[in-house]
Symmetry: C2
Subunit: 313 residues, 2 copies
């Protein structure tokens, strides 16, 4: 079933210990859409400037992603400049040029209205709400946010949280949003703000899902679930890893007829798989060129590195 | 089969956001021995002072731990004072009184010479080597170390590493020992220093094992294995969590007739289980009072929070 994603389509200039790229295609909606496109139909709502060329659009369309909701505006696209220190764990933002994003008013094209799954990538919660309001009949809503909105736009964010089935954020964002240092206590607090499930991303350590009793109506509330990340010898560029995780996670969910705890767990693994591809190359290169065979092989690798496998003793 | 552990039996004064305790029984060998005692016979080599009373010895003997190798010396026992900040992730050492440990010369009692498994807890690598030299015929040697020895006693530590089957250290220690920021590259370098396997402890995120081809002679070299940690709502005192992990891990290994990759993976889970008990109370309280039923139930919980369980869809 189709996923509609609203978020940034942007250009990134990135420096890591492994190299440097200028003005490569990026943005949360881009990474998300590419990762999800391996699992299901994806439609994008975003705004780009005059520097978004046919070759950039082809990155989406060659993966079958619907770009009719990508609006063109005069001026330049959103541009992020960042650098990673040695351990690659945290980006230092050197520049954020909002450009055309500054006056973005997302509109859902007619052709997108029948999308069953909605993903609100990390943008101004006021914009997230605007899209959510236009998509009342979706089957599921999943979203992301970041420190900037948690600190400065709490009231608007609170509205978004009340509408979410699943919130995907990282450890630091859970601490900031909940005001709690303990991960479990913090997760409980966040679930109390609206989301039926919370997926906490731990970077190189994987991710943990926490569930409220509202998540699976017919089943008992599952325990937290912890999915691994792949220990990788070469992490070239972590930009977009979290968005790629979200794309793999939500893409798999949307591809399944019924949402069960077991489907949710496998979705967490597919999230990790797509995140592990994303970081192997700069920008979107690796996510453009993955094959289904590679994805399934890596899913099996994730199982192998985390399962006891009692059959073989 | 019997494990011989050499390391500190000490007193800790600890402050965490959950409370404060003064002079409670601690030390790496203590936590290790208690955790391992649920799986196999354990013998301890350490030195204590006049403040080590019969009630302290009873903590060991009531769990069936052999204390004949705990030497008494005039003066006070090793005493560590530390505090944890809000996130409980790192201890701040406020005081280290070596006391009787300063002139410790470990001697292996005659009755311990037939121990099949040796654990060199975190102490001066010169002392680790002294014990290792007296125990040439053991089946397996496993050890721990810390930043202090990595930085200031590199030559002595290198000797110890060459003698190890398994080294258990944390992320920061791997980075310091290898000089590498990437976890996989760092692990490869550490394996090149001697250990046949490396278990990297990630605190609340679990642990990852890396294997050299020398680890399982008859099998292909296993992929890394990642074991989860339990998301706990109440972490009262993290002191000794790593030593308890090591005790559960090594205790289970020593209880099994043959070492296979599957046994190693289960040992990682039992390590996590014992670590998760340790942090629930101050000092050794929780490790003294666990039951086998609790341990097995928690092992199943670790499986549940990490396994896809494809049978149920």
């Amino acid at each position: 079933m189709a996923i509609l994603v609203v978020g940034s389509v942007a250009f990134d200039s990135i420096e890591t210990p492994y190299g440097k790229v200028g003005h490569c295609l990026g943005g949360a909606a881009t990474h998300f859409a590419l990762a999800a496109s391996y699992f299901t139909e994806v439609r994008v709502i975003a705004v780009v400037g005059e520097d978004f060329l046919p070759k950039h659009e082809a990155v989406f369309t060659s993966r079958g992603i619907d770009t009719r909701g990508i609006e063109r505006a005069p001026g330049l696209s959103f541009h992020w400049t960042g650098a990673y220190a040695d351990n690659l764990s945290e980006a230092k933002t050197l520049g954020t040029d909002l450009n055309v994003f500054e006056r973005f008013e997302p509109k859902v094209p007619e052709a997108y209205l029948d999308s069953e799954y909605l993903f609100l990538a990390n943008i101004d919660p006021a914009l997230q709400t605007r899209v959510r309001t236009q998509m009342q009949d979706v089957r599921m809503v999943c979203g992301d946010t970041m420190n900037y909105w948690i600190m400065g736009h709490a009231a608007n964010l609170a509205k978004v949280l009340r509408e979410l089935d699943v919130l995907l954020i990282n450890d630091g964002e859970v601490r900031l949003l909940s005001g709690e240092q303990n991960a479990v206590v913090g997760a409980e607090k966040v679930l109390g703000m609206g989301p039926k499930a919370l997926v906490v991303k731990h970077g190189e350590y994987g991710a943990t899902a926490f569930f409220s009793q509202r998540m699976f109506a017919d089943a008992r509330t599952p325990r937290p679930f912890r999915a691994p990340a792949l220990p990788l010898a070469e992490v070239v560029d972590p930009t977009g890893a979290g968005d790629s995780f979200a794309g793999g996670f939500y893409g798999y969910l949307a591809s399944q007829p019924v949402l069960t705890p077991a489907v949710f767990r496998r979705a967490m693994f597919y999230g990790g798989v797509m995140g592990s591809f994303a970081v192997e190359r700069f920008g979107t290169e690796r996510l453009q060129g993955a094959t289904w065979e590679e994805i399934e092989a890596r899913f099996e690798l994730f199982r192998e590195i985390s399962h006891l496998d009692d059959a073989e003793v």
